[in-house]
Symmetry: C2
Subunit: 717 residues, 2 copies
């Protein structure tokens, strides 16, 4: 790729972004779109346009002002603590990159541009990745040049800036977490612990009696009651069927009401009873659904009773009347065999994965191991196709392989655009397929809560991204282009890797630019959800509930955002000293991301769970991992430059490991366990324990028909 | 070493053992020696000879019957739980070796002896380590022989026997620990937690107020009181000086009384006041010491007050009125910063290392790291001398290096004995120097209790033993003798190692025999303590207290015993298949050890601390480590035998790791933390909390002169 195609790519990206932003300004003004652009405010019962005293001054940049002026507490109250932690992550990386830029750009660019290694050697220009940008990179420095000292100092500067800001951020998040957790509003899950691996009950003892007597002995004063986990598969199926019919009934009724309004009262809606409503006998929908519902209600009730009585599992939720006891109980060993009566703090009711609770201790270990093996295989076998894709998707290769694209490609303008985007688009689509698969795998490990499963999936996605995209593209790209050299001398791999990194700088530059301009442009403008919403509204939705379902925004999905961001962090850090020009791109990526997502967090996305920042330690250690990759890369690259003072770089990775160890020793445990000092803060009001207990009953077991007393009886048979 | 010198060595060892046992029988009958052979019974207030209905039937083997018939509860009540766990370790290893012997000896010896690889190849006979025993070892099997299948099956048998018995033993110890801990007698330390890293107090708040208010907020119902740890260095010095003078005064008075009895009433004892009592003015001892004591008592009192008021440290002992709360508090995170208000369960008062309590969290980490580096260096630098020693201490080498020993060595009988013992004795003396040094290092890590420091030292000693003795001798011995082969072809090291192992079998056989016959013989007969006691009694001791001090036996010192035993376990396991003849030696070692030490535990040693079996997980994982070394060695050795089915051995080390992981997941945490189920068992009587509190006051701060109320005031100023 030459310099002009790089500029074209950049220009196109920017143009798309500007277009999308204007589209956003225009579309978000229309009252009909308000549910797409302000769903979070609507669901919270706020006036969509009256944010932060902005009234209706719909100038194109009003949202920027609003995003900037929103405080952390606004974010927490509108979008939850996890989202606030995600912004701490974004702003920490942003600060690292800004502080690095301030020193690196004025120091390194003049040093690089006034040397002339690129012109004088032929080796660098021959491998096809040379472009005018190389003059601004470390590649332009001659070997053994004393100018390399500037780059060595820069390497240290970036490292220390990262340590300082990461330490500050960890401390900040830790304090913020404590403040949020010690808030005087009682959160139901703070009074509950989750007990798994309950051993077999004694003869003549029900599961519930067993649990109650066990915890009553240990906590005679603070034990409130217990809820034995049941196998809800059957009852949940019936309940979902029932809910489905209820929705369909409402839908059919709305169609009928509409057709009566439009003057065709005889046209009652009908449907077929067979597969997908395409086959079978034609029936009157309203009558049919009513009948089905009447059939299912008693069935559900009897199944609920059956489930509560017969399908008790060896897991339970235990309720305490006291936050401190619950926090302390969740951390303490209860049985002398560690694999029995295992306790953890209970997650929020809405994010409990009920079906996982019954999985046994050692089965969880085995499942985890099997999942890791599957993920490792997935990472290994995706490596090959990605290597091929990055080697094949040059236009010259495409023309050779697919001769029929030649006429299209030969158009000058199109060719430049294609050349710029082709490899990156392949990569991005490729990565979009993965997260769902990884989330399913993580849930299969036996993890008890959604947020934990998301964290686990996010970790797997991170490893995938790092190994396959970053290392795969870097090594793959250079290995394909320098295969002949390696064949002759296998030991040259290290040198080739270090030499090959700067060659891929422009690839990654365009990737970053594409991600922030097009990615954040699409994010802000919400084109896709908007189109889907309008299509649904026009052709499918008949009832109010269906309409809400059509525009319901979902959550921020930081589980997949963080690995994507981490790829950018790693790329930018690794190239920060080699090609400092990447730093402004990184700054724009994280700056723009912070702005756009703050707008989205405040106005669009609705959090679907809350883990009180448990993601932070992972973000922290992954930034540190990126830093270590960068430090090792620099060690290799300085070695390739034959710089004799390269041993000065050895302390850096060691320092990073020590720093990471110190951080995890000082802060980590509070992100896993609740500190008693935090739990013992006074509550505004003594919580209604019955309400706490009720909030944990799964929806399929809740029932208006079931009387309260009956439920009590059913739960304590 | 040839076969006859091996037999001589064995015979000599056995002769020494028989002699020592007869000596024991004879000496232990004499009433004057009763304090040397039965101190534990005397201190417990029992009749020394009336053990287990044995009355005075002093037949030479009575002690064996008594050791055999003693139950586990006898051992626990006489010598503590840690000793009982040590016997579980001994009997587990014994069972592993017996079960292995039963299969391996009849299966492998006939297979080995009927092959003839040793005769047919010249390589094995030429390196000087060949002897008649080789015919009974795997070295006698031809390469690629199908007979190797028998040895492969034997490798699996030993592994599975070990897994099975280790699992059973871990479970057994775990249940035993629970039973002992849940006993209805209240142990003071079960009501106490140790708090370290207390942050700076608020202005105008004393340390004690700070601690009290902190724990009162979290545990309003169960908090009893706290004791702030003080810097006792000064007061302890004065106290020890005072105690020293008190002893000297009693000694002088006893001398004076004696001289008056013998008719020389004018001869009052005198001493010199200068260095070591050798220089300075001559004074009347009784007057001088009385004066000194009268000087020191008020000094001690004022220093006690000063210490309690001014020298408070940032650590404290916190007392609860409830076992469950204390157990739960010791496991819970208290402050959101993990390095503040760190809690652990309190050790027994007698084993608290007061000076370590004040060391800060991160300083402990740094100290630990520094100590590990020092230990690693020690291990590395001792490697070289040990390698030399094992290469030099052959008689031929000695004769070359020290020509003047030639006439001594040329005596046939002496020569055989020397040849048998020389290398082993050098090694044993060498190892005896180390444990003290390692214990000092472990205490310098900042560990709060003696038992923990002993465990840490024991671990270091284990690594030292394994690396320096086992691997050092095996590799060193073979490397020196086959240096020329390696010079020509460095890749042959693996083959040489695998070939060299059987060559060292006789060395290790003699080592094991020496250790059990001479080592346990000396242990049983207590010759050295006996001589020391009689010398002291005759020349030094004048008072009753001095006499008790002279025969006070100390504890079992399993901290250094276990690494020694582990060396034997590793040796016997590694050679179990290669030279199965080592198995009976191992069986005798652990059988005799079990017997002799059981006698000593019941009658001699007095436990100086109690950790309720916390050593067990380390013993367990070290046996497993020995097993893995054995499995890897076997893999190498089968490879050297060019056995094509050698990959069948690969699953074994993996299985061992999985087994170790499963064990530690299932059992380990209960050995670190107290299970609440165990803690919640009812107590016989509600403990006197004031007594519990008082038991934790260090001796130098206890004082008759200080009134109770004063002490209260002083502790809560």
């Amino acid at each position: 790729m030459d310099f002009s195609s790089f500029l074209t790519s950049l220009g196109t990206s920017f143009l798309i972004f500007v277009l999308l932003m204007l589209l956003f300004t225009w579309l978000s003004r229309k009252p009909g779109n308000v549910v797409v652009y302000y769903p979070n405010r609507i669901l919270k019962g706020l006036d969509p346009w009256d944010a932060y005293g902005g009234s209706r001054t719909r100038n194109p940049f009003a949202w920027i002002g609003e995003a900037m002026s929103a405080t952390e507490q606004d974010v927490i109250s509108m979008s939850g603590f996890d989202t606030a932690v995600y912004f701490v992550f974004l702003s920490t990386v942003l600060r690292i990159l800004v502080l690095s830029s301030i020193v690196l750009l004025p120091m390194l660019l003049p040093v690089a541009v006034t040397d002339d290694s690129v012109k004088s050697t032929t080796a660098t220009t021959s491998n096809g990745t040379f472009n005018d940008l190389d003059k601004l990179s470390m590649g332009n420095i001659r070997r053994r040049s004393p100018r390399l000292w500037a780059f060595l100092i820069a390497t240290y500067w970036v490292s220390f800036v990262t340590y300082y800001l990461l330490w500050k951020a960890y401390k900040y998040v830790s304090v913020l977490r404590a403040d949020t957790l010690m808030s005087s509003e009682a959160k139901p899950e703070q009074f509950v612990i989750l007990v798994r691996d309950i051993p077999l009950a004694l003869r003549g003892q029900t599961r519930k009696e067993q649990v109650d007597s066990y915890f009553n002995t240990i906590y005679p004063q603070t034990f409130y009651r217990s809820m034995v986990v049941t196998d809800n598969k059957e009852v949940n199926k019936i309940w979902e069927e029932l809910e489905g019919y209820k929705k369909k009934l409402a839908h059919a009724k709305a169609i009928y009401a509409e057709s009566r309004r439009t003057g065709k009262p005889e046209a009652r809606p009908t449907n077929k009873t067979g597969f997908l409503g395409l086959f079978g006998a034609k029936v009157d929908s309203i009558e049919y659904y009513k009948e089905k519902i009447n059939e299912l209600i008693p069935k559900l009730k009897s199944e609920q009773n059956l489930t509560l009585r017969e399908k008790q599992q060896d897991a339970a939720l235990v309720f305490f009347t006291n936050r401190v006891t619950a926090a302390s109980a969740a951390q303490s060993l209860h049985d002398q065999m560690v694999d029995k009566w295992t306790v953890t703090d209970a997650p929020e009711p809405r994010q409990l994965l009920w079906n996982n609770l019954k999985i046994k201790f050692f089965q969880r270990q085995v499942r985890q191991f099997v999942v890791y093996v599957i993920v490792a295989l997935a990472i290994l076998f995706y490596m090959i196709p990605i290597g091929f894709i990055s080697a094949l998707t040059t236009l010259d290769n495409l023309k050779k392989l697919l001769p029929f694209v030649k006429p299209v490609v030969n158009l000058k303008a199109l060719r430049t655009v294609l050349e710029a985007f082709l490899p990156q688009i392949a990569l991005i689509i490729f990565l979009a397929l993965l997260p769902k698969f990884l989330l399913i795998l993580s849930k299969a490990e036996g993890i008890p809560s959604v947020s934990h499963a998301v964290r686990a999936a996010s970790g797997k996605y991170f490893y995938f991204t790092m190994l396959n995209v970053f290392i795969g593209v870097t090594v793959g790209g250079t290995l394909f282009s320098t295969l002949k050299t390696i064949e002759k001398n296998p030991n040259s791999v290290v040198t080739i890797l270090a030499n090959g990194l700067p060659g891929n700088a422009t690839f990654f530059l365009t990737l970053v630019a594409l991600k922030f301009f097009v990615g954040y442009g699409l994010e802000l403008s919400r084109i896709v959800p908007l189109i889907i919403y309008h299509l649904k509204r026009k052709y499918l939705c008949k009832t109010e509930a269906e309409l809400v379902e059509a525009w319901y925004p979902g959550d921020l999905k930081y589980g997949t955002r963080v690995p994507g961001d981490m790829l950018i962090v790693t790329i930018v850090l690794c190239y920060s000293v080699i090609a400092p020009l990447i730093l402004p791109f990184g700054v724009v990526y994280f700056g723009l991301g912070w702005l756009v997502l703050r707008n989205q967090a405040l106005k669009v996305y609705v959090p679907s769970y809350e883990s009180y920042g448990r993601m932070w330690p992972h973000m922290h250690s992954r930034i540190l991992a990126a830093l270590i990759i960068y430090q090792v890369t620099m060690f290799g690259y300085f070695g390739a430059k034959k710089f004799v003072y390269v041993p000065f770089l050895i302390p850096l990775p060691i320092l990073s490991l020590v720093f990471g160890y110190a951080c995890s020793r000082k802060f980590y445990r509070f992100f896993r366990d609740m500190a008693l000092e935090v739990a013992c803060h006074d509550l505004n009001q003594i919580p209604n324990m019955d309400q706490v207990f009720r909030s944990f009953i799964p929806p399929c077991l809740r029932s208006k028909e079931l009387d309260d007393d009956e439920f009590e009886d059913a739960l304590s048979p």
